[in-house]
Symmetry: C2
Subunit: 191 residues, 2 copies
């Protein structure tokens, strides 16, 4: 039996993404992923519950880092500032993975089943964020709204960043989106 291979997970993730991207998520089997990575199916299942899990692996870590950042924002931070600290922390995780994130976005965009799952994960992040904001004393409706806005900014920024060829970091794109958010809502006030 092969010894525990710390790079196994990474190799499986890369193989899976490459195959999903080449021949589509639906048409790829776990056997093919394992073969491409030079590993066994058994090793695959030691790392991931199923072939969908490869694409959502790490979302628990992301939620934890997001909510930790929100909880530990300065007391003086406004709800949106605290939420922004959260999505910046999540963005940091995605930036570490770099080009994989772009491939992943394209794979998810090509499958209604995966898109539906992705929306559910984002909604889960929004709920966790809202709860953390309420823990900071933000009232219910404001917490829910701030969380939804922050996740909307995050989602749109990731899409833009993953599609774009610019050198901008994801955090830069998030800041641009937040500025846009402010501009859009202040137009409402001005009138």
């Amino acid at each position: 039996m092969a010894r525990w291979d710390p790079d196994g997970r990474t190799r499986l993730q890369q193989a899976a993404l490459a195959l999903y991207s080449e021949r589509g998520y639906e048409s790829t089997t776990v056997a093919q992923i394992a073969e491409r990575a030079g590993l066994t199916e058994r090793t695959f299942f030691r790392h991931f519950a199923d072939k969908r899990e490869v694409l959502f692996f790490g979302s628990d870590v992301m939620q934890q880092q997001l909510t930790d950042a929100v909880a530990s924002a300065p007391e003086s931070a406004s709800p949106l500032e605290a939420a922004t600290a959260g999505i910046e922390a999540a963005a940091g995780l995605l930036e570490e993975r770099g080009p994989q994130v772009r491939t992943r976005q394209a794979v998810v965009a090509a499958s209604p089943e995966l898109q539906e799952r992705e929306l559910t994960k984002l909604a889960g992040l929004a709920s966790a964020l809202a709860e953390t904001l309420r823990g900071r004393g933000v009232a219910g409706p404001a917490a829910a709204l701030t969380a939804e806005m922050a996740l909307a900014v995050f989602k749109i920024a990731v899409e833009q960043w993953a599609q774009g060829d610019s050198k901008a970091t994801l955090v830069d794109v998030i800041h641009e989106s937040l500025a846009e958010l402010t501009a859009v809502t202040s137009q409402q006030v001005r009138r």
Copy 2:
């Protein structure tokens, strides 16, 4: 064969909602819905493709009314004002259905499968709204962001309205949420 019954659809919807609410969505069959409504399964399938469709029936009409209202907002309207006209139109449809909407919300909230589908429908509304805003000359990122915000406001307002016992109309709750949105984002600016 029974003649076309204009009330059949309404009776089937009421029966389905009552049963989903009483014994759960998963445990309810089409046969039970038809029986409760005093109609046949065949009649059920003349109105709805499946038992899930009862809960999402009318979402095409809602999308059409939403985008029509956005497209026909005054030229001087800001993106958020145009989007608000859209969600007000959608809210109008829900208010017509009244108490059914509350039962429906509770049924959807109890089923992960239905929640996932609901999120997909909301994302579809957001895409259609963003496209309509781009048709009004709003730039891509601002259009996407405005659409996501408007749908977040809509979603949260519907939840609040459906849960609440107050006499406030859904449109009132939407206006409160929009005011909250402005307050939350302007805090960011002030700092």
